[in-house]
């Protein structure tokens, strides 16, 4: 199992990707991810871990390094009471799964063992399985492709092939 990292409401993208490190690479930025809220986060999070958060996760600036930093650190996905819209789109575009969960996710505590099942929009915890709000199929497909860019690569390849067949 992987661990849950629990955050409060209104985590903003300045906290996820601080402006002063924006000019450097994602490796540098990721080391400062969420340090204003939890100085130990970047050094303790492991691949496969899941972020569990309150309302309006990812509010603020549209910088997608906010989602990219989490992906770089290996975060398997985010389950929150709600997301800020731009962040939610950015995360999906980068292939980082983001799900909205109901009251049940409020019972998850920092360090709890959890497992995120993206295909079936479920979060398994030691005390049971939590059903999350499913994403539309085309977005699940985009996440499975690895994000918008590989998704478009497939589309353009398909379009080129179709044009080729017609010629």
């Amino acid at each position: 199992m992987n661990r849950a990292f629990v955050f409060c409401n209104d985590i903003d993208t300045d906290a996820l990707a601080p402006g002063q490190y924006m000019g450097g690479g994602i490796e540098v930025l990721a080391q400062h991810c969420l340090e204003a809220v939890d100085p130990d986060f970047a050094s303790s999070v492991k691949p496969g871990d899941v972020i569990v958060a309150g309302k309006n996760f990812g509010m603020g600036s549209s910088r997608e390094q906010a989602a990219q930093a989490l992906k770089h650190l290996g975060v398997a996905g985010i389950v929150a009471r709600s997301f800020a819209g731009i962040f939610q789109r950015n995360a999906i575009n980068l292939g980082l799964p983001v799900f909205v969960g109901g009251d049940q996710i409020g019972g998850i505590e920092a360090g709890d063992d959890v497992e995120l099942d993206v295909r079936n929009s479920r979060l398994t915890t030691l005390s049971g399985t939590i059903e999350l709000e499913p994403l539309p199929d085309f977005l699940i497909e985009m996440i499975a492709d690895g994000g918008l860019v590989p998704h478009l690569e497939k589309r353009f390849a398909r379009e080129r092939m179709n044009r080729g067949e017609q010629q």
């Binding site: 209104d10 903003d12 993208t13 300045d14 906290a15 601080p18 402006g19 002063q20 924006m22 000019g23 450097g24 204003a36 309302k55 309006n56 509010m59 603020g60 600036s61 549209s62 910088r63 997608e64 989602a67 709600s82 800020a84 819209g85 731009i86 939610q88 789109r89 950015n90 575009n93 980068l94 539309p136 085309f138 994000g147 918008l148 860019v149 478009l152 690569e153 353009f156």
Partner: protein, 425 residues
Amino acid sequence: MSRPTTLAEKIIARAAGRASVTPGEVVTTKVDLAMIHDSGGPRRVEPILKRLGVGLFDTKKVVLISDHYVPGDTEEGAAILALTRAWAQEKGVSFYDGEGICHVVLPERGHLKPGMLVVGGDSHSPTGGAFGAYMFGVGATEMAGVLATGEIWLKVPETIRIEWSGTLGPRLMAKDMILAMCGKLGMDGGRYQAIEYAGETVRVLEMQERMTMSNMAAELGAQAGLIAPDETTTRWLAEHGATDLPEAADWQSDEGATVAETHRFDASALEPQVAAPHSPANSAGISDYEPTGIDVAYIGACTGAKYVDLKAAADIIRGHTLAKGVELLVAPSSKRDQERAERDGIMKVLEDAGARVLPNACGICAGYGSARLGEDVTCISTTARNFKGRMGAKSSMVYLGSPYTVAASAITGRIADPREFGDAA
């Protein structure tokens, strides 16, 4: 007779090539215009376009504006600006370099029109809603997708109508209105739906004031912050070089259109608003605040340093000097607004009082530049966001207020009620 629809639905239906759309359905729309800046723009999108092996969907529908790394006084910033300039030249897109902040420059140069669907590579893109355009922000990867395809997917939003009645008192501005909305509705009150600001108070606001309200639809968590166009809109746009303007009457919410929520505010009961650290949602009337000393007063950003904001600050500061120990920083939103403020003597008032004038760029509002706030600094700012550590050190404390309030605070050295200074406005 077709079902009455909202302005947001009309724009999205037109862009999706549909007769009508229904809130909640996912549609793919054509993008009429894409705006990018130096931070999220060329340096981030070009590698993706290369990987996809495609060019821009339409060079005439892309506008590039440098504002984040201006003036390029670091090695890193200079390199990003150089890359941005080279890309602009190679692609042949409209490019405004060091002319000001994208959300202010875009309409100022006549690029926006009512009824357009516009995607911006920045979270304050809802500013375009002030012109009756459905404009919203996306990240760099999504922007690369837009530049490659000319399309974007949208979940058709519900409309949240926010209706203002009554007349604003002296020394009150749109900034006070939007802070009051943030205080009441919270930063997720907009639920990533479309807000439409309406009512007599909104109708009498000039364009740059409307821009302040639409700009901070971002802080309400909405996707877009629309104001239906009227004569004020079309006249302003025509004066700023927009051509082939549509009839304002064609881009209105129909009477009886379904809205998800209606919120009502009374402007005549409003007092100047201040948002305490570290959220715009911590907004309250100024009379709720204990005397709070400040070190820095910041007039800047797309939200709070347009001509109308500079003028408001000068109206308070004229004949005064800065309080001892207070630094006043002014970063006019655009070069044109600064030049106009220079012609009108507004910049002189600010400079004579001791203001330090910074470049026409996002600057410390976005956490960039050398003027970032130091440890334990208390600042009152005309900007949109006071998140912990955004404008500088994590220990700095940022309060948000209108240009009137920030100016009054600069000359008294504490968070001050601008109504203490004369009664004009």
